[in-house]
């Protein structure tokens, strides 16, 4: 029986690297597309609004696991040969964009109407109105929820193991199968997740408290 030594630790860290990379890629990709989704969702065109609403409903209303399967096997079915991790990043980006888009849609709509009206009265155009007035305020208000989602996303990347992507959780499973010490190995894996997610949660909570104090 193997013991838990340096090679096993390195293997876990290798998995951690993919977890972090996948989280960052899907957060950035999801952020960019999510911003477009949020803007589409508050657009004045009912058609664009409804398309964005459907997109959000689709990804929020189905399990992430199904999305992973469908995108992973769907791409294969379409004869598109891609790396597991490209398919997985694709799925997580779509997932993150729907959730971030909906969070930001909410904060944009929570701003007083007077902000848009004042911008219109000053004849500021759409781009300036969004970039200079609406988004800076909305994104700031949304920070706690956005950080909260990043924490969910980090933990959610463990599902990618299902389609053979070796991230932290899957790496833990492999190591545990080798050395037959599941409690020890998954304990360590859990601690690593915790070490990443907990500071983010604290940061988010602190941000939230500071904002509610500023608003009081």
């Amino acid at each position: 029986m193997n013991a838990f030594g340096l090679p096993e630790i390195l293997f876990l860290l290798q998995g951690l690297k993919w977890t972090v990379l996948l989280t960052i890629i899907s957060f950035i990709g999801g952020g960019v597309i999510g911003l477009l989704i949020a803007l589409a969702r508050v657009s004045t065109s009912p058609v664009i609004q409804r398309l964005a609403a459907a997109y959000i409903a689709l990804f929020q209303g189905t399990p992430l696991l199904m999305q992973l399967f469908i995108i992973y096997y769907g791409l294969a079915l379409l004869q598109i040969n891609v790396d597991a991790w490209i398919a997985v990043s694709f799925a997580y980006t779509a997932h993150a964009s729907a959730f971030l888009g909906d969070i930001w849609r909410g904060t944009i709509q929570s701003l007083p109407r007077g902000q848009t009206e004042a911008a219109n009265a000053l004849s500021l155009g759409y781009v300036s109105r969004m970039r200079d007035i609406i988004l800076p305020q909305a994104l700031k208000i949304s920070l706690p929820a956005t950080i909260g989602f990043a924490v969910q996303l980090t933990k959610g990347t463990s599902l990618a193991a299902i389609v053979g992507f070796i991230e932290l959780a899957r790496a833990g499973q492999i190591v545990s199968n080798l050395i037959f010490q599941p409690l020890l190995v998954f304990g360590i894996v859990g601690l690593i997740y915790f070490a990443i997610c907990w500071p983010m949660s604290i940061w988010g909570t602190r941000m939230e408290r500071r904002m509610s104090r500023n608003h009081a």
Partner: protein
């Protein structure tokens, strides 16, 4: 309050023949609710109109149509010779001639006072930052609030914020200023500083349409008072005439209520 003698008319002449705003047969619906009923109004350059009437009578809606914060169903709106069409370019060209001050100030809370005032100059008129700030400072000085330029809106009192909002609108050098109950969200002790600023504007010849129930201001500044109820203009008169001898029953009742509350 203010003394109620009319302002020196020599310095504030109204050009009888230069029409700045013309509303013709405006109708506005909110769903099934007829909010403005066939309203027509002509405002000449340099004229100051006070609009009053009970809450819900359509005063805000009427002035918000002028810069297309509300879209009308039918009728025509002409501002500074430009007739409003339903396209972005036409709306934009009219908005550039019209400044607006809101009851709730609507300053941009995340921007410093100076940036509140200079933003549109940069984004709409394409000015460089320093050029825009020179103009912003000029108008902040004019509303006597230049020393607050580097603060954020939340650090100012309500009266100061409303004066900033006036300066912000003036920066775009509009031909007409619209005021929608600019003092009704203010603590009583701050009302005067805002009204004084507006009186100063009137003295400089600004064309103004003001929704307000401040009778002292109306008597001092207005050329005409329009009384609205149920989406219609029921009475139109010189301020002294309107306040001392209103003709319409609704106007009498309305003035009675205002006096009872003051």
């Amino acid at each position: 309050m203010q003394n109620t003698s009319p302002l020196n008319t020599a310095s504030m002449s109204v050009s009888e023949n230069e029409t700045l705003i013309e509303l013709k047969n405006i109708n506005k619906w909110f769903g099934g609710f007829h909010a403005l009923k066939d309203i027509s109004l002509t405002v000449n350059k340099g004229e100051r109109i006070v609009l009053c009437g009970p809450s819900g009578s359509g005063k805000s809606t009427l002035i918000r149509c002028i810069n297309h914060l509300e879209a009308i169903k039918d009728g025509t709106i002409t501002v500074a010779g430009k007739e409003m069409a339903n396209d972005a370019k036409s709306i934009d060209s009219i908005r550039r001639e019209v400044g607006m001050v809101f009851q709730s100030f609507n300053l941009f809370p995340h921007l410093k006072i100076i940036d509140n005032c200079s933003l549109a100059l940069r984004r709409v008129k394409g000015m460089q930052r320093d050029e825009a700030e020179v103009i912003a400072r000029k108008y902040l000085d004019r509303v006597h609030i230049l020393e607050q330029a580097d603060k954020y809106p939340a650090q100012l009192s309500g009266g100061q914020q409303q004066r900033v909002a006036i300066a912000r609108a003036l920066c775009m050098e509009p031909k007409v200023m619209l005021f929608d109950e600019p003092t009704s969200a203010l603590d009583p002790e701050m009302v005067k500083e805002v009204l004084d600023t507006m009186i100063g504007l009137a003295q400089d010849g600004m064309t103004m349409i003001c929704v307000t129930h401040e009778m002292g201001f109306a008597r001092k500044v207005a050329n005409r008072v329009l009384f609205m109820a149920d989406g219609q203009v029921l009475e139109e008169a010189a301020p002294d005439e309107f306040f001392s001898a209103p003709k319409h029953e609704r106007a009498k009742a309305f003035l009675g209520e205002i006096l009872a509350h003051n």
